[in-house]
Symmetry: C2
């Protein structure tokens, strides 16, 4: 979203499982991301950051113009960061990968099965949205597309997505990948993980 709004920024890694006191002071919930502005303003929580960015930098607005558009954008953001995160990302990233990276032992097989089942189901829903609308929340690109892409690119980086499940979802994601704002995401790497060959390919 920062890149889409052409706001320059630096990224810093935070290993949240280390629970650094300096970080918990910025964000008592201990979650990532937290945004730190040059003027000292601290903005924790991805949903709070997204609301803040559209209020502080209203150009290239990504929340929709009408009340109805904004309801649908926020509904989908809440759905991806709530239900999709809970059923898919927390299982296929949190349980399968992050648990080991954080030295918290082996993954739960049941959690991983739940994750794959929910992913198939939810990819179908994304495909349905993509078939019936230009972008996920309607006719304009919005925070909802980036909320969805944040989860899907994380899972795709880890090789967890079978895009043949939904050609419409794949086509939507190809359009997101092609945006200049997404280049930084696709170039980003995590030590010790090699993404699949199609990860950066715009015509995967």
């Amino acid at each position: 979203m920062l890149a889409e709004k052409r706001l320059p920024f630096d990224l810093r890694v935070e290993k949240v499982w280390e629970r650094r006191p300096e970080y918990l002071e910025m964000n008592p919930a201990g979650t990532v991301p937290t945004l730190e502005e040059d003027n000292g303003l601290i903005i924790p929580d991805s949903a709070v950051i997204c609301e803040y960015l559209d209020e502080a930098y209203p150009d290239q607005g990504l929340l929709g113009r009408t009340l109805a558009e904004r309801i649908e954008v926020r509904r989908l953001c809440a759905w991806f960061d709530g239900r999709f995160a809970h059923e898919v990302t927390n299982n296929l990233y949190g349980e399968k990968h992050l648990r080991r990276m954080a030295g918290r032992g082996n993954p739960e097989p049941a959690a991983i099965r739940t994750g794959y089942t929910a992913l198939r189901y939810h990819l179908d829903y994304i495909g349905w949205l993509a078939e019936n609308r230009k972008w996920l929340a309607g006719s304009m690109l919005s925070q909802a597309d980036f909320a969805a892409a944040a989860h899907l690119s994380t899972l795709d980086f880890l090789g967890e997505i079978d895009w043949s499940i939904s050609p419409a979802a794949k086509d939507w994601y190809a359009r997101i990948k092609s945006r200049p704002s997404f280049r930084g995401v696709l170039a980003d790497r995590v030590a010790g993980v090699t993404p699949p060959a199609h990860y950066t390919d715009l015509d995967f």
Copy 2:
């Protein structure tokens, strides 16, 4: 929040575990609440509803005026509806009471222990906020107070809160209970549940 903004409304019960198709069409996530406007606009998800209410009815604004105030209000709302809900409400209401009401068997003792431990810890945090600020997010009453009160009044109705843990949290909650907008909440009843004697008492 509707009452605080003096917007008249009717309440309807939705047994979400029955997953009524008509309700899922209004709100695919299947969560409560969903707000239906007289003009037909459907607004699902409590956080989406709260953002909508402050945009559609800006009088008696409850999100804060400055960017910094709005960050803090949204941070606390996200914290109560995220972490507090996950660690406390989902365990002491969802696991201990709702599970039985929904006919899904007996509660998990470990979940209930987790809930009580987290509740003590988080009541201290609420008390700390209440001691250092007029209202939870700062000098003005905000959505954060209602997000907190929504969770705490649910738990208090079920007799799950030992207010002696934090006199400052208790004092803040007494001020919330005294607001005319809270009368409807305190008068609301659930079939088969008798709240403790102090539940409606404004000087509990």
